[in-house]
């Protein structure tokens, strides 16, 4: 009887874990990829984040907290790896953009320029930008996840977007660039 209960609990735990994978893994991986700028490192970091999530699943019952927790683990893991070894990682520059099927060629050029500009951002700017754009997080949520004042996050987002805008202005290849006088 006890064995049956254990099995039931374990099955429930696994279902909960799989739900965390279904809900967040793709976006967590994108976040890791933009953070590490390397496919293999990103996969390792995501693997590690989910391994920790499995170990501490009881603390992740609230799914809204789970995403923020996973992002924090990814950030810490990246910081730790960076501290241990200075990677010379630029393979994101060689990564193909998954353009929408209806993208015009000029849009693809803009996207390519923007992608390089995002990759070139200092990590302090890149992190909140990816959190906002990929994860749809508000400034307050980003501030909580990064343990920063909300105003700091707002400043970083502003500067990050200005820098990306700057790269477009330089190439004069986008009408969008004119939005930022």
């Amino acid at each position: 009887m006890e064995k049956n209960d254990e099995n039931r609990v374990m099955k429930k735990k696994k279902r909960q874990f799989e739900r965390l994978v279904d809900l967040y893994a793709q976006d967590i991986h994108r976040f890791a990829l933009w953070l590490t700028k390397d496919h293999h490192t990103a996969e390792d970091v995501v693997q590690e984040a989910y391994a920790r999530a499995w170990k501490n699943l009881d603390q992740l019952k609230d799914e809204s907290v789970a995403k923020s927790r996973l992002l924090t683990i990814v950030r810490n893991e990246n910081a730790r790896r960076f501290q241990r070894k200075q990677f010379d990682l630029v393979d994101i520059d060689n990564t193909q953009v998954t353009a929408s099927a209806d993208s015009e060629p000029e849009n693809r050029t803009e996207i390519s320029i923007m992608r390089k500009a995002i990759a070139a951002l200092p990590i302090d700017y890149r992190e909140p930008l990816v959190m906002q754009v990929i994860h749809g997080m508000s400034c307050r949520e980003i501030a909580e996840t990064m343990d920063l004042p909300e105003n700091t996050v707002m400043t970083r987002l502003f500067r990050a977007k200005q820098k990306v805008k700057g790269s477009l202005t330089e190439t004069q290849s986008s009408n969008v660039a004119r939005l930022y006088p």
Binding site: F17, E43, Y50, W54, L129, S138, F158, K161, V176
Partner: protein, 242 residues
């Protein structure tokens, strides 16, 4: 909110729910401006969509892999004594026993929790400023302990944390080779002192007074002198002090 402020907010977050921003959006001109910034964010999102072979389904195998790994670890003590292939690991363990004069009996749950917590809050190990004494005293009072100046002078961080459902104390101080993390878990019991390790960190878990103490440092850190130092420095409050 004037147009300049509105535009700035649009750059920062065109989906902001700030009351003044939402109110300003009622103006049709400003509403149009916001649409343009939303387009820019949509472009950013497209730019961030990278091709990858990553398969999230592979993550679903983690529970199974970790169960298998755990099972292997449980039997590794016996195997290491029998198989010559494990002689290096066995020598390392034997050396630790000699150095510490302790029987190594891992306390996996506590050690794992401490290591996990260390990794999850790695940022506090980077703090270089001295932890303010005025904040430390009330924190230690809650745990009924005091810590001598030998450690407080080198302390960089102190906070409460949850380990194994016990409210514990998380301290970071300077060691000889790098930051040292100390966990104090009042009420936790450790049968025997044991070693722990993960990647570039190693540590020691032992009973101290009515709680468990874990000390974790970088691999070059000498743990035995630290253990002595902590045992001498971390003492319960006397009835008078309490």
């Amino acid at each position: 909110m004037n147009e300049i402020e509105f535009r700035k907010q649009c750059v920062i977050d065109p989906n902001s729910e700030d009351e003044r921003f939402v109110e300003a959006m009622q103006d049709s001109e400003l509403h149009k401006i916001r649409e343009e910034y939303l387009d820019f964010d949509a472009q950013l999102k497209d730019a961030m969509r990278l091709q990858s072979d990553f398969d999230p389904e592979s993550l679903k195998l983690i529970p199974q892999e970790m169960d298998e790994e755990h099972a292997k670890e449980e039997s590794s003590w016996f195997k290491s004594a029998l198989r010559p292939a494990y002689s290096i690991a066995a020598s390392f363990v034997a050396a630790m026993v000699v150095v510490f004069g302790l029987l190594l009996q891992p306390e996996p749950a506590l050690s794992e929790s401490m290591m996990d917590h260390l990794y999850d809050h790695m940022e506090v190990t980077h703090i270089r400023t001295k932890f303010p004494q005025q904040k430390l005293r009330p924190l230690l009072d809650e745990y009924g302990i005091r810590i001598s100046e030998v450690l407080t002078e080198r302390m960089r961080h102190a906070s409460k944390c949850e380990l194994e459902n016990l409210t514990s104390l998380h301290i970071v101080f300077d060691g000889e080779s790098g930051p040292v993390t100390l966990f104090f878990m009042p009420g936790a019991e450790v049968d025997r002192a044991s070693m722990m390790g993960r990647e570039q960190f190693h540590g020691i878990l032992f009973q101290h007074g009515d709680g468990a103490v874990g000390i974790i440092g970088v691999m070059d850190e000498q743990l035995l002198p630290l253990k002595d130092e902590v045992e001498a420095s971390l003492v319960p409050l006397t009835p008078k002090e309490a």
